[in-house]
Symmetry: C2
Subunit: 698 residues, 2 copies
């Protein structure tokens, strides 16, 4: 078909005029899979210092699996940071001493540089146990990744709390409740034969931030996890994670004795029920000697529980605790609310659990969400914190952004968690101090997406959760700097610009979604997008209108004495401060107070004008993030630059939608004009009301 | 906590005794993502030849996007094969001439080496259009990847059929019907803002094997794809794929005019229905000028269709064809069966469609599955092939292994498809000849798993489908060699050992699942595992017992004149051959004949003994694959070696399960003893019957 030589000549003649070949590159794409364990080559003086130090990872020859993985990680990390495999002799040794005779919290470590007789340095990582050594290795790599001088490094750390957990709301069929990053990372179907390499990278990431417990399945629990078929699957995972200091837990369904045990009842006081759970625990311990225990969601949102048999939560939890014995823990969730709308929903957990203080077995922990409602962009802290002095209590945070825009844009959650952790309960301790003897759990945001979290910046929330569970005293700023430096770039200009964006991003999402203490205004079911108008769902407390209580006159939920009096569940000093809208932090204003649209806020503006200015501030903040990100292009690889830019484009769209739909609805009630110069909503209220998302994820 | 200097001394003193550092490596994991476009560095004489040739990719400066991606792929591929970026001058130029004035099938190309006046070679890729050039570039890279000498390469190829399509059974919420490789690769939720880089790699993989059409959504179609919200999403994908020669199609729901159009009817003869579809097509063409058309599953398995309005399939298809006009195509599926069990299910498509021959508009294609039932491990070819001379007909194959063990182990499907393509229809043409004027579609096996197909070896099925659609004359052996060489290793010992394993793997799965013409014995719903005993489902033809018709006396489905007479739908020459169990290929024996357990097969054994020997042969074949794979470890990277070994471990388990459960059931009917020395089933029949898989994927 080609006309031979003439064509060749034609082509040959034109070759000289052709432009030079662009350099192809086969390098690995920066797809985010490496997380903060990217170990990008150092540059500049940091590189010079590490080159000069010339680290040698000393192989101890110890058989301990945690020591082995620590050594492996040091070699991997240094290879990345140096840009080549580290020397095997002749440099400064890094040595692990994992049985240094010290006492203290499990997992503590020291890292210190010493001068040897030969003039070379020596870096010693010492700990009382091998997992402490592993934590020390990761901590050292973090410092080196951030450009610290290996010759002067000096770290002495111990975890602030014993339990630092991730809760996965993952189902056996691979779906993830409130998951926005693809399918579950757990491939139950092919376990135990196949263990995805991702399960090891997951453990590395967790160990690097101190996570030491993982609940592998949804709190709306499938009884499958208690069947014979799942036992070897669970065992394979637990075995793979043990070297990384991670214990495996499962969520259990309270009625499992009926569903998979063949019993007629799940009454916690029935002897056959007790025996069945004891047998289950026995099988689990036989397969997994360090099995962590059970997480339980009982008598909440349709889940079965002890109240089905007129037993208390304590009776239910204690029965499971007895089955586990002193080797394992029952983590009992305090997230309950009744199906009748009689009581203000935010009051119900306190009413239910406060009277049970002191009634739980020693190996039961009550797991309390950060706020009394449900993982909103902002909530006041949960009144149970500090209110049950005779009960072990841990905090449940949500890393996955169910109500905060899910997996798009930039929403850095450390400020949200810090706000709660630092809150004085009025019972003589901050929330952090209340939970430090016990722990923190975060609802994971991981999925099968290549970047793990569906969005590059949501990796920062996984990281921040682990770091705060390790040390609630760390600042949001410090954690963001660490994450940015390890994950993207150590360039000081880049860090200086990006970190403030991250720090202000959570207030932005509050502002454009639910400013001034509004809550639960999200679309029904999927919780995506605005739906403040929804008022027809069966259960009153499922309706956004239940929470906004907006009408022609005003807006907000009166939780003072004249209303639901939820305020009374807080310590008197706290309640007193919040009882007066004029003295309280207006960020929580409408959470506690129903106020007229004309109410004069602290800014001097009317409530209506202030509300609109907050929406605008949120929209402007997202616009500003998107603009700033464009200027950061020189510092970021092409693939992640485009990925984040696209994600911010979606967030910009969503911020406008939230503002416009919300304003359109409030205006339909109060008929107030917009302040001068304000942009009216882009569409009519009926347009926003008609939007449907049957394909929403999660 | 560390006791200072004494510890340091202790450590320092022991350093000398420590073993040397193992080499760390930061190299990219071989996770299968690269598919057959891995471009691993050449070695030995192949490397010497390519180094000596010293290819220079000449940048034509043409603005054509397909030419650009061809140049980019050549640079990427050569960089991999050479182990460095190719030279930009001074070597042998590779030039693209993409408008060579030739005629012929769209997509044809020539690749030829020429000697230049200066003594250096020149490689010319010429074609009538830029997509032909892209195909030529991929073909050249394939040859080079397999070690061919660039100085003597000579290729002249043209696609055998115009439509080479993938059908995705992917839903807008990310689930995939019959998907075993994670979620959908299409992220509808974040489109159009976010275009995953995977969408480009997907297009590269498809273009490299000549795929030129993609139906992006499930034939059980969501009407969402016809809403305004999805139009920009579809456009973004079509734009991204256009340079790769891929046209986008969608599956449509016949009742969409009611569901998203607000009409009261979907009657194809109603003027408002016609107008609505015309408007939809208009919007699609406006966004996507080369929009491919609609795939339709109508009046089948509960889907709506023209028969709901007492119209024929032809009336329904022709209405949509008129809406599309001559720019697009309606692909109408022939997979229909009625909800009453009156007629043998395998006869129904023929009975329905044969009378409509000649009644379809010119831009309608009837899409016919390879066999008359439903993608079984083995079926005789579909009797419609060759029986509708006045109708355009294409073949539908299933790449995803719904009924063939899903995504575990090794089951190479090229032999299955070749068996069908090469079958003489008795109407004067083979199946391949019947469909060559039109095309082939394969139900995709892709998903979000890192290796794309859930199993390394299922990549070979995607590859083989594309290669056979390009040229049905290629042998299964040739295609396997190409795939193995590009994907794993060119080592001749490796190829020599692995390719025969692949070639025999499909017969193995037939043998251990449904030997001797048995069909549809799989578990209800998920089609995973054996369930020959199931006989209580609502529709008779959903029951495995409907197909095996086994009892105390015998087994098999009589489709001769004494039975359902499905044989009469075949050409007389074919029917005559198959009517006699003594002359026909026993691979299809029980598909057409009900025979006593004592029937003497061609081997001389009784049917019962022969059946058992086939199960055993299947189990032994899988054992043998697993053993052989172990010996191939030296040739394969660690990650993929372990991955495949784990997958084969599952397949071994499944093969035993199939054999044992099937034999246990047949024995419960015929009470025949096992032949001497035969291993009895591991468990009782009731054990197998009780197995449940609520967590099965797909």
């Amino acid at each position: 078909m080609m006309r031979g030589r003439s064509l060749v000549n034609r082509i040959a003649a034109s070759i000289a005029a052709l432009a030079l070949l662009m350099a192809g590159h086969a390098a690995t794409a920066e797809d985010g899979y490496a997380l903060w364990l990217r170990y990008a080559p150092l540059t500049g003086s940091a590189k010079e210092r590490l080159d000069q130090f010339n680290p040698v990872v000393v192989q101890t020859g110890e058989a301990d699996p945690s020591v082995k993985v620590a050594e492996e990680e040091l070699r991997r990390g240094l290879t990345g940071l140096l840009g080549h495999v580290p020397a095997s002799s002749g440099g400064s040794p890094i040595v692990l001493a994992c049985n240094d005779g010290s006492s203290g919290a499990r997992g503590h470590f020291n890292v210190a540089a010493h001068q040897q007789a030969n003039g070379r340095s020596l870096l010693a990582i010492s700990a009382a146990d091998s997992v402490g050594c592993l934590y020390g290795a990761f901590a050292l790599l973090r410092e080196l990744s951030l450009g610290r001088d290996p010759a002067t490094v000096e770290l002495a750390q111990a975890p602030a709390m014993p339990l630092r957990m991730l809760d996965h709301w993952d189902n056996p069929d691979g779906t993830v409740e409130r998951g926005y990053a693809g399918r579950s990372i757990f491939d139950w179907w092919h376990l135990p034969e196949e263990l995805s390499p991702r399960m090891i990278d997951y453990a590395r990431a967790n160990a690097s931030i101190g996570i030491n417990g993982v609940v592998v399945n949804n709190v709306n629990a499938s009884p499958l996890f208690l069947t014979e078929r799942y036992l070897p699957k669970l065992k394979r995972l637990a075995d793979a994670w043990r070297p990384y200091g991670i214990r495996l837990y499962i969520s259990v369904r309270f009625s499992a004795p009926i569903e998979v045990g063949g019993l007629k009842t799940a009454d916690p006081l029935a002897p056959q029920v007790k025996a069945w759970w004891k047998a289950q625990a026995g099988k689990l311990y036989q397969a997994i000697p360090d099995f962590g225990g059970f997480l339980v969601k009982a008598n909440s949102e349709g889940q079965p529980g002890p109240q089905d048999y007129h037993r208390t939560h304590a009776q239910g939890a204690n029965m499971l605790a007895a089955a586990l014995g002193n080797r394992g823990t029952v983590i009992w969730r305090a997230f309950v609310y009744a199906s009748s709308g009689e009581t203000d929903r935010v009051k119900q957990a306190y009413e239910e659990f406060k009277p049970l203080d002191g009634k739980f077995a020693p190996n039961v922990i009550l797991q309390v969400k950060n706020g009394p409602l449900d993982f909103q962009p902002r909530e006041p802290f949960h009144p149970l914190f500090g209110a049950m002095p005779h009960t072990r209590m841990m905090l449940e945070a949500q890393i996955t952004r169910e109500y905060l825009g899910q997996a798009t844009g930039i929403v850095y959650l450390a400020p949200l968690w810090k706000e709660v952790l630092d809150a004085p309960t009025g019972h003589g301790a901050t929330v952090a101090q209340v939970i430090e003897p016990t722990g923190m759990a975060g609802v994971a945001n991981t999925g099968s997406d290549r970047d793990w979290t569906g969005d590059q910046f949501d990796q920062a929330n996984w990281y921040a959760f682990g770091r705060l569970a390790w040390s609630p005293a760390l600042s949001s700023d410090q954690i963001a700097r660490e994450w940015v430096g390890q994950t993207f770039s150590r360039n000081p200009n880049f860090v200086r610009q990006l970190v403030p964006m991250m720090l202000s991003s959570r207030q932005a999402v509050v502002d454009y979604m639910t400013p001034l203490g509004l809550a639960h205004q999200m679309g029904t079911g999927h919780h995506y997008g605005p739906a403040p108008w929804v008022c027809t769902l069966d259960r009153p407390e499922w309706n956004p209108c239940y929470y906004n209580r907006a009408d022609a006159e005003g807006i907000g939920f009166d939780r003072t004495r004249s209303g639901s009096d939820a305020l009374a569940q807080y310590a008197p000093s706290v309640a007193a401060q919040w009882a007066d809208p004029r003295t309280m932090d207006e960020n929580d204003l409408l959470w506690f107070h129903h106020l007229p649209w004309s109410y004069r806020t602290q800014s001097g503006k009317s409530l209506w004008d202030e509300l609109i200015s907050r929406y605008d501030r949120g929209v402007a903040a997202v616009d500003s993030m998107a603009r700033e990100w464009q200027t950061l292009q020189p510092y970021v690889d092409h693939e992640r630059f485009v990925d984040v830019a696209s994600s911010l484009a979606i967030q910009r769209k969503e911020a406008r939608w939230w503002r416009d739909a919300s304003i359109a609805y409030w205006q339909s009630l109060n008929h107030l004009p917009l302040p001068a110069g304000e942009r009216p909503p882009e569409h009519s209220l009926s347009y926003y009301e008609a939007l449907e998302f049957p394909d929403a994820p999660g």
